[in-house]
Assembly symmetry: C4
Homo-oligomer: 269 residues x 4
């Protein structure tokens, strides 16, 4: 059998609805296996699971190979980040692991196989892409928020380090504490502690809460407005298409034609 006909056959297989469903089922099954491992299970079941694991790894290897061979343009295959992600997950899980340190990494890799669900189901891929696309637009808001965090953490670490070392010990711990304050998690305990030494430190917390809440709101509204605008633009386009693109311009042209007609009729006489 020639290489070309193999490619065509695998391309068909890969686009096959049942093949897709089967791959999704294997991914779901591998997720269940991962979940099962977190329960207390007898030794022989554990052995069975490790065999299942190897089976899933091999199946994924075969599947990726089919996808690769089925791809008409080989260069295109690795330009798709999802294909790269799939290949990486499969290749890494092939490496035999003995070391207990690496065993943890091996486990992590097996867990991330669940993410292949996103790379297979087009709707999920679309959703994640739109989430990722929204991020850079908000880049400056996130930068501003980071500056606010950094300044408040520097102030906190300078003034409150002696009060509670585990909350304000250094700037990184202080930033974690501030994130906690931002989520309102026992923030009054943190505040009352420092207010015992600096009675006006409530100003520190209240201004921080106001600033971050305001910046966060701004971020959310930014996303809303952006999504709305895109939806609106698309709607307008569809509407124009549906109406046969009859616009005010068309009317204007019609009137112009009418004018020309009258001119012509009167010239003829």
């Amino acid at each position: 059998m020639s290489m070309e006909s193999l490619q065509t056959r695998f391309f068909e297989l890969r686009s096959n609805r049942f093949f897709e469903l089967f791959v999704v089922s294997v991914i779901l099954f591998s997720a269940l296996v991962i979940g099962a491992k977190t329960y207390d299970i007898p030794e022989n079941v554990l052995t069975a699971i490790s065999w299942l694991d190897t089976g899933i790894t091999l199946f994924f290897l075969v599947e990726i190979t089919i996808r690769f061979i089925g791809e008409p343009d080989k260069k295109h295959f690795f330009k798709n980040p999802w294909n790269l992600f799939d290949t990486l997950i499969v290749v890494v899980s092939l490496i035999p692991i003995q070391d207990s340190e690496m065993a943890l990494v091996g486990r992590l890799i097996r867990i991330f196989r669940v993410l292949r669900m996103v790379s297979i189901v087009p709707e999920l891929r679309l959703l994640l892409n739109s989430l990722i696309k929204a991020l850079p637009q908000l880049g400056y808001v996130i930068l501003l928020m980071f500056i606010i965090f950094y300044i408040y953490a520097a102030i906190g670490a300078s003034f409150f380090a002696n009060i509670n070392e585990s909350l304000w010990g250094d700037i990184s711990i202080a930033m974690l504490t501030l994130f906690r304050v931002m989520t309102f998690e026992d923030w009054t305990d943190v505040m009352y502690e420092t207010m015992a030494v600096y009675p006006f430190s409530w100003l520190f917390y209240l201004t921080f809460i106001f600033l971050t809440t305001f910046a966060f709101l701004n971020m959310v509204i930014g996303i809303v407005v952006n999504v709305m605008e895109n939806e609106h633009a698309q709607e307008e386009k569809e509407k124009a298409l549906a109406e046969g693109q009859l616009t005010i311009e068309d009317l204007s042209n019609q009137i112009e034609e009418l004018k020309a007609l009258i001119e012509e009729k009167h010239r003829d006489k």
Copy 2:
């Protein structure tokens, strides 16, 4: 009296405003009885309440029967899920219960009778329907959120199970703990505990919070945009109707008529 005339009479009764109000009153009263039972009440009042309960059950039986007989198309009756729900509630509460295990179920059924309020008041039915309709549209966001939860729970159960069995013992407990982290409920206590063993585990919590908050926001914005669009489309339709549907097309036709008129007038000469 013929069956037909009975049906007509019951149909009228069922559509009667006072009958509706009376049914709503009985439902409200049954809700009050359910509430009263949760207080410490003397034995004789309890007996009175149990008689009232039987009375309400019988009244609901009569009411459902009236509705059924009053329905012109009997098949249509059971196609309405609210009618099915009403019938189920009434039929199940007719079963005499002795067993203490079943007594709890009986109590639950009596509580769900309050939900009949929703099946009677059209505005509430409309509201609940719109809530239920919004759900499938968000299906993929919910699926993505579940995948995020599953992956983080698998990681949490793999690494933190030895630290706190009651929070990270298996994958289902870990998912409950993650839901708790998502609601910011004492999440720092959970984090500080694991940070004592894995100092970088704050990354686990912070990325989880960012991902779920972002996905949740996306879900909310999805609902908002959807509701807005529906409202907008309906508004446009109403506006078009109110204006006698005078559109750019109508204008275009008018101009075309004018053209024809001029052509005709000049041909006549």
Copy 3:
């Protein structure tokens, strides 16, 4: 001096910018007095404050009288709920109070005098009116939310009363506990306690949180859409006015006139 001229003069006084500013200052001062009373203050200052209090009461009495006499249409005066509120506050604070029980009520009345700020400043009155107007529209969502609360409270009080009397003792306490769960305030403590007896009670809490969050979201979106629509409608109206109300209809009429003109011109010949 005739009654009429007095009315005119007081009407002018009442509309005077400086009089308004002075009344606002007195209200602010009365707010400061109320605040001052909450601090530990020496006896003689307390006496001075009680004299100030009487002074403020008398001033408000005079001010209300001026407003009433200044009103051209006396019946109109009491149709305004803000005037009723102002009069009530002033009249009640005139009643001399000896009894310690009533002293608390007297204090409350004095505190509510700060609300006169809202009745004086037009922008605040407008804002509060718009908040109050938004409420009835959301009536059915609030009713649905109350039904959800009632059903869950009835279930909670039936099943969990033996576990924790102070949280689930009767239906009203259970509703307060559920409100606490809705605000995520130590809700896991409440859940873990009942999960020890009923291991599946997490379903109770999670479904409750989902339902109330969803209903709350719906409420918020309802307000947003409503506000947006009103803004949009007003904008359209203003735009139409600014454009001299030139609409598609106007164009249609213009074309009709043109038609008539052509018809007429050709008939003349």
Copy 4:
């Protein structure tokens, strides 16, 4: 070298991309130095850091001088609040500090140097300006919220001061406690404490939560609607420009011209 040519040269330098990048790097480096100081560091590194600090201060002094000389219109320089802020930060950090009390202020000034990031990067400056611009519009909502806080704090301080001095001692402490209740931080602990004395005090907390949540929502919606409208208005403007501003008015004028043409043609005959 003449003063003018120096100004031109410095103006060019100041607009130079590399100069900007270098200034941003120095600010980032100064932020890192501030962060490093919060860690436990050996004495000699501390000395090095204090030298670095002086270096950064001198660099900023030179930079501000360049900006000032480079400015064509000197008066314009101090009209820009960001320039004022930059100059203030630099001048204050020049003052030698010995006193330990003042040392804290000196540290604060050094931390605020990170804010120079905002004054340098135009996008961040724009973002902060838009945040500041949004505030006054919400002025009345914030005033209303303050009145709600004040009234509830006065009631709380009057009735609950004897129950818990540290939460309701005076009106300012009571306002802080109410802010805590608004963020749902352990608010039930505060409530249960007062409910032991006043069983109906849950009404106090629930009405407060409803009022503030409602007012906050209103504030958020106010920002959203405002941002949306601005975006919409700008969009409309751009659209009009893109379409060559062909509006219904233009059409109307065209029809009027047509009318005039017909009138003229028939008059000619």
